[in-house]
């Protein structure tokens, strides 16, 4: 029983394999980290999981259901939410409206109820707005509630994306570099936010370069290099793995196997 499972997923773009033969499983309520050098294919993997790309081969299972090739909005309706490497916030709307969009899968989005305002739409809208505002408060974004999303500072934008993703009450949350561009204090805040989210029962998969965040938060870490899985395990063992160190810092930095003196 896994929340997310990939089986030999590959994706090639015009002959170049961005991701090759990737397999792993994430247990429910786990915090799982995806790390690796730039260009390793991490975001591509997220795009494959969330349906933006269709795998060239392999299968993706979400809560043991085969979702390979399903479009993004279907994945979202199954309970998947994600944030993006560069915040894809709706700049043409206010911050709270952004968060309200996150709850879309729970709302009635038909044409007739919309234009006639029947079917309890007014009450549902009010409730949605209140919930979104509350969510923003919990994430420290209360004062930006009615501000135009484009006016928010970068750190707040990253948290807004998380709030928007959480508004849909997902079961699986994909976070693409949640700490990118944040200073030490903001990153620390983000760690707290993510820990709270995980504690509420959501399975979290994150891509991160911030090792402090990765090692401090996650239960399992997968290292992706050149589109392939290098190693997967507990944070501490991955950190010590010579090939991982070589991939990040260069071959000379990797500890050589111990020579036993006879």
């Amino acid at each position: 029983m896994s929340e997310l499972r990939l089986e030999q997923v590959s994706k090639t773009f015009g002959g170049v394999a961005a991701v090759a033969d990737v397999s792993f499983a994430v247990a429910p309520r786990q915090i799982f980290a995806l790390i690796g050098p730039n260009g390793a294919g991490k975001t591509t993997l997220f795009n494959l999981i969330s349906g933006v790309y269709r795998p060239s081969s392999g299968r993706v299972f979400f809560a043991d259901r085969d979702v390979t090739g399903q479009p993004p909005h279907a994945l979202a309706r199954f309970g998947l939410a994600r944030t993006f490497q560069t915040p894809q916030v709706f700049l043409n709307m206010s911050a709270v409206e952004n968060v309200m969009v996150g709850a879309h899968r729970h709302l009635k989005s038909g044409l007739l109820p919309a234009i006639t305002r029947l079917g309890g739409l007014r009450a549902a809208e009010k409730a949605c707005r209140a919930e979104a505002a509350a969510l923003m408060e919990r994430l420290g974004l209360g004062r930006y509630r009615d501000a135009e999303a484009g006016a928010l500072p970068y750190g707040a934008l990253k948290r807004l994306e998380v709030a928007r993703a959480m508004a849909g009450r997902p079961r699986l949350l994909l976070l693409d570099e949640p700490a990118a561009g944040l200073n030490a204090a903001e990153a620390e805040e983000m760690v707290g936010v993510l820990r709270t989210i995980a504690e509420s029962g959501v399975t979290v998969v994150l891509i991160e370069h911030n090792m402090h965040m990765v090692m401090g938060l996650s239960e399992r870490v997968l290292v992706l290099v050149s589109g392939r899985v290098l190693v997967e395990g507990a944070p501490a063992e991955v950190q010590r793995h010579p090939e991982v160190i070589a991939a990040y810092l260069g071959a000379e930095a990797a500890p050589q196997p111990e020579l036993r003196c006879a």
Partner: protein, 290 residues
């Protein structure tokens, strides 16, 4: 066979016009991302100006050259007084501005020369030449020959001259071009001037065959736009191919299928292409990176 050749000749002739207009669209689009809805008016300006000058007694060669110069002047003025002041505006706004310009230019033409049709004498007489049982007007040969010359000249300009390469660089990445010292504002001015040149040349070439009036620019512009799309927006070779293809399709369709629906052919083709090949015949659909 003779009939087919006939349609082929007329199709290539009008196709060459569309190709020049389409190239003009491509050049401006590449430089600014704007679709210049006044492109057709450059064609009209070229034709109308030469008609006016010839009627005023100016010898034909001089009239043609002056008419083309007038077209270029209009293009440069358009950029200087309408596009540049609005730099930074959303693309939709810029498109509306070019629409306003096309209305204004048409208004001036109507003011100066009325709403009737005008004639322009053909360059070297109108004795049809017989080839393979089909007749072709000498003016058609002028259209094809001059268009080929213009395209060769343009291609040499882009690949050999510093200015041409600067234009290509700007089209590729505006910011980077600015950073290496290319005067991007001047490049934009040049793009409009060049597009106007192409349009005006097409206008002076084709009006001896098709007559000219204040509103000929509308359909020519739209079909040129369709041709540019057909080849993939921004693609120069595609624009030329698209123009010729549309001209041929129109002539063959009008000849063999229905002449009443001639104007529709170009748009049915582009609609079909867009639905089945969204990037145009030669273009690519680029993916968004997130």
């Amino acid at each position: 066979m003779a009939e087919f050749l006939q349609f082929l000749f007329s199709g290539l002739t009008v196709g060459a016009t569309y190709a020049l207009v389409a190239l003009g669209f491509a050049i401006i689009y590449n430089a600014s991302g704007v679709i210049n809805f006044a492109q057709g008016e450059f064609v009209m300006a070229g034709g109308m100006a030469s008609a006016f000058l010839v009627a005023a007694g100016v010898p034909l060669p001089l009239a043609v050259i002056t008419a083309v110069a007038a077209g270029v002047a209009i293009g440069v003025a358009l950029e200087k007084f309408a596009i540049e002041p609005a730099r930074g505006a959303p693309v939709v706004t810029l498109i509306i501005i070019t629409i306003g310009a096309s209305i204004a230019i048409r208004g001036v033409a109507q003011l100066l020369l009325g709403k009737q049709f005008h004639t322009v004498p053909p360059f070297t007489g109108d004795h049809p030449i017989v080839i393979g049982g089909a007749t072709i007007l000498p003016q058609s040969l002028w259209v094809l020959g001059a268009s080929i010359a213009v395209v060769i000249g343009l291609s040499a300009f882009f690949s050999r001259s510093k200015l041409g390469k600067a234009m290509l660089a700007t089209a590729n990445n505006r910011h980077a071009a600015q950073l290496v010292g290319i005067n991007v504002r001047f490049i934009l001015l040049l793009s409009f001037g060049l597009s106007a040149l192409l349009g005006a040349v097409a206008g002076v070439l084709i009006s001896p065959i098709t007559l000219t009036s204040y509103d000929v620019g509308i359909m020519v512009g739209l079909k040129g736009f369709a041709a540019a799309m057909l080849g993939g927006l921004g693609n120069g070779v595609g624009a030329i191919a698209g123009g010729l293809l549309l001209g041929l399709a129109e002539a063959l369709g009008a000849g063999y299928l229905s002449s009443a629906y001639k104007d529709v052919i170009a748009f049915v083709i582009i609609l079909a292409v867009l639905v089945f090949m969204p990037g145009g015949l030669f273009g690519k659909v680029s993916a968004e990176r997130v």
